[in-house]
C-alpha cells in the first residue's frame, strides 16, 4: 500500500492535474447516474437501477461497520426489515392486519429511528465480542428475528407478512413509478455515500478506524471503545433503516422471507464481492448481484442458473479476495507500474527501443 502511494505522484507528475481528472470522473459518473432513466427502459430504471441502489445502501451499512469498525454484522438486513415492518404496521397495508394509518411523513422518521435504535441495541450486544463471535451474535439475532416474525400473527401477520404497502403520492408524483422511485433511491444512496465519505475523515470516523486497528492502544489513550462502536451501529442503522423503507416500497410488501438468513447473507455477499474497504464497493457489488439475479437465467438451462450466480461470486473472490474494488486497484497498480517504466525507462532497454524504431 505504502509503495503504491509513494509511486502515485511520480505517475501523474507528467500528465494532467490529478484533481481535474478525478473531478471529470465524478462529473461523468453523476451525469450517467442522473441521465440513466432517460435512455433506460422502465424495467432497467426500476428493477435494475433503483433496486441496485437500494440494496447497495443496505450493503453500505454493512461496509461502514465492517470496513471502518472491523465489525462484520449479519443483522443489517434485519435492521432494514424492522424499519420495513414498522412502515407496514404504522402506515397502510393491504393485509387487514395492523395498518394504523399514520401519514407517511410521520411513519417514515419513526421507522428509521426505530431501526437505528434497534441497530444500536444489536451493537450493544455485539461490540463486546470480536471477529467470528460478532458474526455469530448478529447471525443469531437475524435468525431469531426471522423466526419471531414468522410465528407472530398479531403484530407481524406471520408467514404471509404484509402486502399492498404502497409509497405515498408526494406533490402529485406517485413514488413507486419507475422514474420517481429511481431518483428517490439515487438521492438516498448519494446522500449516504457522501455522508460516509465525510464521516470517514471526521474525528469520529478516524477514531473508529483507530479502534479497529488497535483497540487496546485506543483504550489506553482514553477512548471508550464500546460507546464508539455502539454509536457506529446506530449510524449504520440509520443507513440500513432508510434503505429498508425503500425496500418495502420497492416490493410493496414485506414478509419473513425479506429478513431471512438468506437475505442477511446476501447483504454480506454483496459487500464482500463489491469490496468492503470503500463505500463505493457495496454499490458495485449490488449492481453485479442484481444483474446476475435477473439475467443468469438467460445464460444457462433455467434449472441451473443459481449455480452460475454462485460460480461468478466464487470466481470474483478467487481472482481478488478483496472483491471487485481490489481487482480494479490491482489493475491500476499494474498500469501505474507500466507507465512508470515507460516514463523512466531503465538504461538497458534504451538501445532496444531505438532499434525497434529503426
Amino acid at each position: 500500500m505504502s509503495v503504491a502511494r509513494a509511486d502515485a505522484p511520480a505517475v501523474t507528475a507528467g500528465s494532467a492535474d490529478p484533481g481535474s481528472s478525478a473531478d471529470a470522473f465524478y462529473v461523468v459518473g453523476a451525469i450517467l447516474l442522473l441521465a440513466f432513466p432517460l435512455f433506460a427502459s422502465p424495467f432497467f430504471t426500476f428493477q435494475i437501477g433503483a433496486y441496485s441502489l437500494v440494496l447497495g445502501t443496505v450493503a453500505l451499512s454493512v461496509m461502514v461497520l465492517g470496513g471502518y469498525g472491523g465489525m462484520v454484522s449479519l443483522a443489517q438486513m434485519t435492521v432494514a426489515g424492522i424499519a420495513g415492518y414498522t412502515i407496514a404496521i404504522l402506515g397502510h397495508n393491504g393485509s387487514n392486519v395492523m395498518g394504523l394509518g399514520w401519514p407517511w411523513w410521520l411513519a417514515v422518521p419513526v421507522a428509521i429511528l426505530l431501526g437505528a435504535v434497534a441497530s444500536a441495541l444489536i451493537g450493544a450486544l455485539a461490540v463486546r465480542t470480536a471477529g467470528i463471535y460478532t458474526i455469530m451474535i448478529t447471525l443469531a439475532i437475524a435468525t431469531a428475528f426471522f423466526y419471531f416474525v414468522r410465528q407472530n400473527y398479531a403484530l407481524f401477520n406471520g408467514f404471509n407478512g404484509f402486502h399492498g404497502v404502497e409509497p405515498p403520492k408526494v406533490l402529485g408524483v406517485y413514488l413507486r413509478d419507475p422514474v420517481p422511485f429511481y431518483y428517490l433511491s439515487l438521492a438516498v444512496a448519494v446522500f449516504f455515500y457522501g455522508a460516509t465519505i465525510y464521516a470517514e475523515r471526521s474525528t469520529f470516523g478516524l477514531t473508529l478506524q483507530a479502534l479497529r486497528d488497535n483497540p487496546r492502544r485506543a483504550r489506553a489513550i482514553g477512548f471508550d471503545v464500546s460507546a464508539h462502536r455502539i454509536f457506529a451501529f446506530f449510524l449504520a442503522g440509520v443507513i440500513a433503516s432508510t434503505a429498508g423503507v425503500l425496500l418495502v416500497w420497492f416490493n410493496s410488501q414485506i414478509s419473513p422471507g425479506s429478513v431471512s438468513v438468506g437475505a442477511a447473507v446476501d447483504s454480506l455477499v454483496i459487500t464482500v464481492v463489491g469490496g468492503i474497504r470503500r463505500p463505493i464497493g457495496p454499490f458495485i457489488g449490488a449492481l453485479l448481484f442484481v444483474i446476475l439475479q435477473n439475467f443468469a437465467v438467460d445464460l444457462v438451462n433455467p434449472d441451473r442458473f443459481n449455480t452460475v450466480i454462485g460460480l461468478v461470486f466464487l470466481a470474483v473472490l478467487f481472482v481478488s479476495p478483496d472483491g471487485l474494488l481490489g481487482l480494479v486497484d490491482r489493475l491500476r497498480t499494474v498500469a501505474a507500474a507500466q507507465s512508470l517504466r515507460q516514463a523512466v525507462p531503465p538504461q538497458g532497454h534504451m538501445p532496444n527501443q531505438g532499434t525497434a524504431k529503426d
Partner: protein
C-alpha cells in the same frame, strides 16, 4: 487509489448501460414467456411444469400460423415477490406478448395484480390454484384454463364423510393462499354433512422439521388431511412415519401427486391407500389421458412415470394459448384484443376432458376423486374412484351466495 475510487461510479453506470439494450421485436416471431418455480421447496414441481409447457409447444413445432414462437423462461421461488420480479423481467425486458405462469397460489394473486398494469400482454396461468386469483378482483387479461384449489377438492369431503366414515379430521397444511383454498374446498361439504375439524396446523413453505407439528396432532381424530407440496410433503410424510404415526392420511391435490408419489424413500409406505382429489388421475383409462401419458413419457424418459398435475396444467394453458393464437392467425398487432376475445370463447379437448371458461376466465372442468395404489412395478399411482363433471369455481352455488362464506383463511371455514 483515490482516482480509482472516483472512476467507479462511471464504470458502474456504463455497465448498466451496456446491459440495457433490449432485444428488438421481430415481425414474424411471437415471444412467449414461461414462469415456474425452479428454486426452493417446489423446484421439482417447476421442472415438471416446464415439461408440460414444452410438450404443447413441441406438438406445433414451435410455429403457429407461420410465425415462430420464441420461448423465454424465468424462475421464482414460490414467493409472490420473486414471481413479480421474474414476470416484470419477462414482460418489460424480454418483451413477451404471452406469459404462461406462475406455479404457486400466492404467486398467482401477485401476478394477476401485476397483469392489470400491462393491459397489452396476455397472461395465462401456469398451475397456481388460489381461488382468489380469479374470483376476487380478477384481471381482464389473466386467463386460467386449469381449475383452482377449491374445485380440485370437489367430491372429497362427501367421499371422506360418507364412504370412508371419518367424522373428525385434523389438518396439516402450508400457510398460504393455495392450501387455504384446498382446505375450504374440503371443509365446506365436510362440515355441512356434520364433520368436525378440531385442529389445523399451518406450516411455512420450506419447513424442514415437522416434529413439533406431529407432536401437537390430536389423538382423537379419525384421519389427517395433508395439504403440502413437493419437498414439504416428503419431509412431513417421512417424519410422520418415523414418529410412528398410524392415523389414516387424506391427501391434498398436490400431496397425492407424481411430484410426491414419484419420489423414492420411506414416505411411500405412508401414502398407499391415501384418498385425494384433483384435476388429474394417473390411471384414468380414457384414451385422451392415455395418449397424453404416452406422449409425455416419449418426450421425457427421465420424467415421472405419469405427468404430474403441474405438467398437465402448464400443458393445458400453453395449448389454450396456441389454439387461440391459431384462431387469430398469429395476429397480436392490436395489443392482443382479438386474441383475448378468442381465448375467452375457447373450448377444447384436454387430456382430462373438455375445458371451458366462466365469466371470470376461470376453467370449468372435471375433477377426480382418487386413491393411491401401488402398481405391479412398484410405482405409486392415483386410481380413479369417481369423477365430478363440469365443476365450476363456486361448486355449483351462485357466486353471490358462495362469497358469503367469506375469504378462505387460516380460520375460515371453521367447524370445531
Amino acid at each position: 487509489m483515490t482516482i480509482a475510487m472516483k472512476r467507479l461510479p462511471a464504470v458502474a453506470a456504463a455497465l448498466a448501460l451496456l446491459a440495457g439494450t433490449g432485444a428488438a421485436r421481430a415481425e414474424d416471431t411471437i415471444k412467449m414467456g414461461g414462469l415456474a418455480t425452479l428454486e426452493g421447496a417446489f423446484a421439482v414441481l417447476g421442472q415438471d411444469s416446464f415439461r408440460g409447457m414444452d410438450l404443447a409447444l413441441q406438438e406445433v413445432n414451435y410455429t403457429v400460423a407461420g410465425k415462430k414462437i420464441v420461448v423465454v423462461k424465468g424462475s421464482s421461488d414460490a414467493s409472490p415477490e420473486s414471481a413479480v420480479k421474474a414476470t416484470r423481467k419477462l414482460v418489460e425486458e424480454d418483451g413477451v406478448q404471452i406469459l404462461i405462469g406462475p406455479l404457486s397460489g400466492s404467486e398467482g394473486i401477485a401476478v394477476k395484480d401485476y397483469a392489470k398494469t400491462q393491459p397489452k400482454v396476455t397472461f395465462l396461468n401456469g398451475s397456481s390454484a388460489a381461488q382468489d386469483t380469479t374470483l376476487i378482483n380478477p384481471a381482464e387479461n389473466f386467463f386460467r384454463f386449469n381449475t383452482d384449489g377449491v374445485q380440485w377438492m370437489a367430491g372429497l369431503g362427501d367421499y371422506i364423510y360418507n364412504k370412508k366414515g371419518y367424522k373428525k379430521v385434523a389438518i396439516v397444511a402450508e400457510d398460504y393462499s393455495f392450501p387455504y383454498s384446498q382446505v375450504e374446498g374440503f371443509m365446506l361439504p365436510f362440515c355441512k354433512l356434520g364433520g368436525h375439524v378440531p385442529s389445523k396446523s399451518w406450516v411455512p413453505i420450506g419447513n424442514k422439521d415437522f416434529s413439533s407439528v406431529i407432536a401437537a396432532l390430536p389423538d382423537d381424530v379419525d384421519a389427517i388431511l395433508v395439504v403440502l407440496g413437493g419437498a414439504d410433503a416428503i419431509n412431513f410424510l417421512t417424519q410422520y412415519q418415523q414418529a410412528g404415526g398410524t392415523l389414516p392420511l387424506i391427501g391434498g391435490s398436490i400431496t397425492a401427486d407424481q411430484t410426491v408419489l414419484g419420489a423414492k424413500g420411506q414416505q411411500r409406505k405412508a401414502v398407499v391407500g391415501m384418498p385425494s382429489a384433483g384435476p388429474t388421475a394417473d390411471t384414468w383409462d380414457d384414451p385422451r389421458w392415455k395418449a397424453f401419458v404416452a406422449q409425455y413419457r416419449k418426450a421425457f424418459p427421465d420424467g415421472f412415470p405419469v405427468p404430474s398435475l403441474f405438467a398437465d396444467a402448464y400443458y393445458m394453458n400453453t395449448k389454450a394459448a396456441l389454439l387461440a393464437l391459431a384462431q387469430v392467425n398469429g395476429d397480436l398487432s392490436d395489443g392482443g384484443v382479438k386474441y383475448r376475445e378468442a381465448l375467452a370463447k375457447l373450448t377444447f379437448e384436454t387430456p382430462t376432458g373438455m375445458v371451458k371458461l366462466d365469466k371470470n376466465r376461470n376453467a370449468i372442468a372435471d375433477i377426480f376423486v382418487t386413491e393411491v395404489t401401488e402398481a405391479s412395478d412398484g410405482t405409486l399411482l392415483n386410481k380413479v374412484v369417481s369423477i365430478a363433471k363440469d365443476v365450476d369455481e363456486t361448486l355449483g352455488v351462485p357466486q353471490a351466495e358462495f362469497l358469503k362464506n367469506g375469504p378462505a383463511s387460516r380460520d375460515n371455514p371453521d367447524c370445531k
